[in-house]
């Protein structure tokens, strides 16, 4: 009977999945731990070993999960979601967490400086030149980075989205004026615009958010406008207008609900771009200033020969930055694939 055969094949397959998964997990874990802790290799060699270990571990766990649950699981997606939930929670709860000192140098006079990361110690991720705790600084940095980026995306989405819908619905004069200003904003490369803005804006969280919001507005306008134009030609909009709906009502009730999904997925994609922009600006010394930590200015501490002796000064905030950007990128990609088939290609 074919069904029995299929069943047997499935169970063989499952046993194989579990064995291979277990082997990969163990080897990966061993390699990663060895790579992390071995004293006998250069940093590069350690990193390669560690990364290879993590890759194997990932494949192993993926197979184990598939074997146990009997279906494929998007492990990367769940890891990303997990990381984001953890980092957001940590950022919100930072003041209540038992963390080391993050910005008051006066309190760390007696703390050792440049301690290397060692889990299960007082400073699990090490300290910087002034003895400030890197874990605490990374989490407070997350607080700043996330607050700025989310605020900027929110402002940019609301403002850009509204202008875009209006321009797309009214067309004609409104549209061309909006078009010229959008083009003018897009005529300056984003980072250059930010640098120019930073020459006369105080680097506060509010100003940074506004400056970054300005960056997101042109693309939001374009996206919302293009989608509005498409939908405005559909029958249901025509039907609403024929029933005597006002223009405000057509926009609010018929267009916005349709435009909102692609705009939302674009917003998710933009969060990571803004985190990078904020970090870049801080790195260039034009963003949030020391001693308040952001990932960008923490990484900048490694400049001037310090990184060469104490790589963890760069690697610790760098890892936070990378993981967060990666997670948002992945989420954004999934969101666009799902809700915005038009711009998903680019």
């Amino acid at each position: 009977m074919p069904s029995k055969k299929a069943l047997r094949a499935a169970s063989v397959n499952r046993t194989r999945l579990l064995t291979v998964g277990a082997v990969l997990t163990v080897v990966g874990l061993a390699l990663a731990i060895f790579g992390w802790s071995t004293p006998s290799l250069l940093l590069g060699g350690k990193a390669v070993l560690f990364l290879a270990g993590v890759a194997l571990l990932f494949q192993g766990v993926n197979r184990l999960l598939q074997g146990v649950l009997g279906r494929r699981v998007d492990l990367t997606l769940w890891l990303c979601v997990g990381w984001l939930v953890a980092i957001v929670l940590a950022a919100i709860l930072a003041p209540y967490l038992p963390l080391g000192e993050q910005n008051d140098v006066a309190k760390t006079l007696l703390e050792p400086s440049y301690t290397t990361p060692a889990l299960l110690t007082e400073h699990p991720l090490g300290t910087n030149n002034q003895g400030l705790d890197l874990l605490a600084r990374s989490i407070y940095g997350a607080r700043t980075s996330l607050m700025i980026s989310l605020l900027a995306v929110a402002v940019g989405t609301v403002v850009g989205g509204t202008i875009g819908v209006i321009a797309g619905y009214f067309r004609k004069g409104v549209d061309s004026v909006v078009g010229i200003f959008t083009n003018a904003l897009l005529a300056v490369p984003p980072l250059i615009l930010l640098i120019a803005l930073s020459t006369f804006l105080d680097p506060s969280i509010r100003n940074m958010s506004l400056a970054l919001a300005l960056l997101t507005i042109p693309s939001m306008i374009r996206l919302a406008r293009a989608n509005t134009i498409t939908f405005a030609q559909r029958e249901f909009v025509m039907a609403a207008r024929l029933m005597g709906a006002t223009r405000m009502r057509v926009m609010a009730r018929e267009l916005v609900p349709n435009v909102i999904l692609p705009v939302f997925s674009m917003a998710v994609v933009m969060i990571s771009a803004l985190i990078v922009a904020e970090a870049s600006l801080s790195f260039l010394g034009l963003g949030i200033q020391q001693p308040d930590p952001t990932w960008g200015n923490m990484i900048a501490e490694g400049e001037g020969g310090i990184m060469e002796d104490h790589p963890h000064i760069v690697l610790v905030p760098g890892a936070f930055l990378f993981l967060t950007v990666f997670a948002f990128n992945l989420l954004g990609e999934k969101a666009q694939a799902r809700w915005d088939t038009r711009s998903a290609k680019l």
Binding site: P189, I192, A196, V314, F322, F326
Partner: protein
């Protein structure tokens, strides 16, 4: 022809608005330029004289007009920070460095992205494809300053292959110049490489499903030839568009890389000027960068229309 004229008019309008925006932004700057130039502790009359001399007491529009008419003739004023050199001279010295880095970065990205994308597309769904896809996605998530620091850590510090933070002019020594420019250019290339590879791969996969690919294979063409002459060419148009889209990012990473490697380009110049509140420098640099950016983008627009025979004008 009329279309071209219209487009140029539009570009001029956009640049005009940009110039006004740049001017306006920087004249709203807090702090007194006169103090910035002379330093503290001079008699008030000296500051007032200098302000008069700089034209800071004129109405805003008048100042904008003076500045713009100067800018058009290449006079961006002088830097506020010692050495108070001519802004245009400084830009003239810095621009070639940035252009070289950006072009090298772009070239490296293309040289690597095209074969990677072809390899990936030829084995779509296979291990190679997934490996390349995952690495490119990973690279996209590494901000360029972080990538730069990591590469310095590995190649300059660990392996000692490349120097850290020096610049040799192309005119002085070609070998020396390339040796110093390579690592920064690689950092600039990374992000573009990832983007190009991903987009080109997806595009190639779409093209490879076309009937004309099957027809070319049915002629007995070897797979690599089908890939290069039949699939790559139609797909390369989207690569050209993509280069336009990613140009802003390219300029951004060039700025960061110059700052990171302390290279004497536009990027480190503008960052330093911004840090010191040297507004004529920032104004001039932003305007020049916007000009280059808009011009290259327009060029890409036009070349796109010319490259693709389907959109090229047909002579009857």
């Amino acid at each position: 022809m009329r279309k071209v004229a219209l487009r140029i008019g539009e570009l001029a309008g956009v640049l005009f608005i940009v110039s006004f925006g740049v001017f306006l932004m920087l004249s709203l700057m807090p702090g007194d330029p006169a103090v910035a130039i002379l330093g503290e502790g001079h008699p008030p009359q000296e500051y007032a004289d200098l302000r008069q001399e700089l034209g800071l007491n004129d109405p805003l529009l008048q100042r904008y007009w003076d500045w713009l008419s100067g800018a058009v003739t290449g006079d961006f004023g002088t830097s506020l920070v010692p050495p108070q050199s001519d802004v245009l001279d400084r830009i003239g010295g810095a621009l070639p460095v940035s252009l070289q880095l950006a072009v090298m970065g772009l070239a490296i990205a293309l040289v690597l992205a095209i074969p990677l994308a072809m390899w990936s597309a030829a084995r779509a769904g296979g291990t190679v494809d997934r490996l390349i896809g995952a690495s490119m996605f990973g690279i996209l998530s590494v901000p360029s300053f972080l990538a730069g620091l990591l590469l310095i850590l590995i190649f300059s510090n660990g392996l000692g292959w490349f120097p850290r933070a020096q610049w040799v002019r192309l005119s002085d020594s070609i070998g020396g110049n390339l040796h110093h420019a390579l690592l920064p250019a690689v950092v600039i290339a990374l992000m573009e490489l990832a983007l190009f590879t991903r987009v080109l791969r997806n595009d190639l996969i779409v093209t490879l499903n076309e009937d004309f690919i099957l027809a070319a294979r049915a002629k007995g063409m070897p797979p690599w030839r089908v890939m290069v002459t039949d699939a790559l060419r139609p797909s390369s148009f989207s690569l050209v568009t993509l280069m336009g889209i990613s140009l802003g990012r390219l300029i951004g990473s060039t700025v960061i890389v110059e700052y990171l490697f302390a290279l004497p380009g536009m990027g480190s110049m503008i960052v330093n000027a911004a840090n010191q509140g040297d507004y004529p420098m920032v104004q001039g640099a932003v305007l020049v960068i916007a000009l280059v950016y808009v011009a290259v983008n327009a060029g890409i627009d036009f070349s796109y229309g010319y490259l693709d025979p389907r959109t090229r004008r047909v002579d009857a």
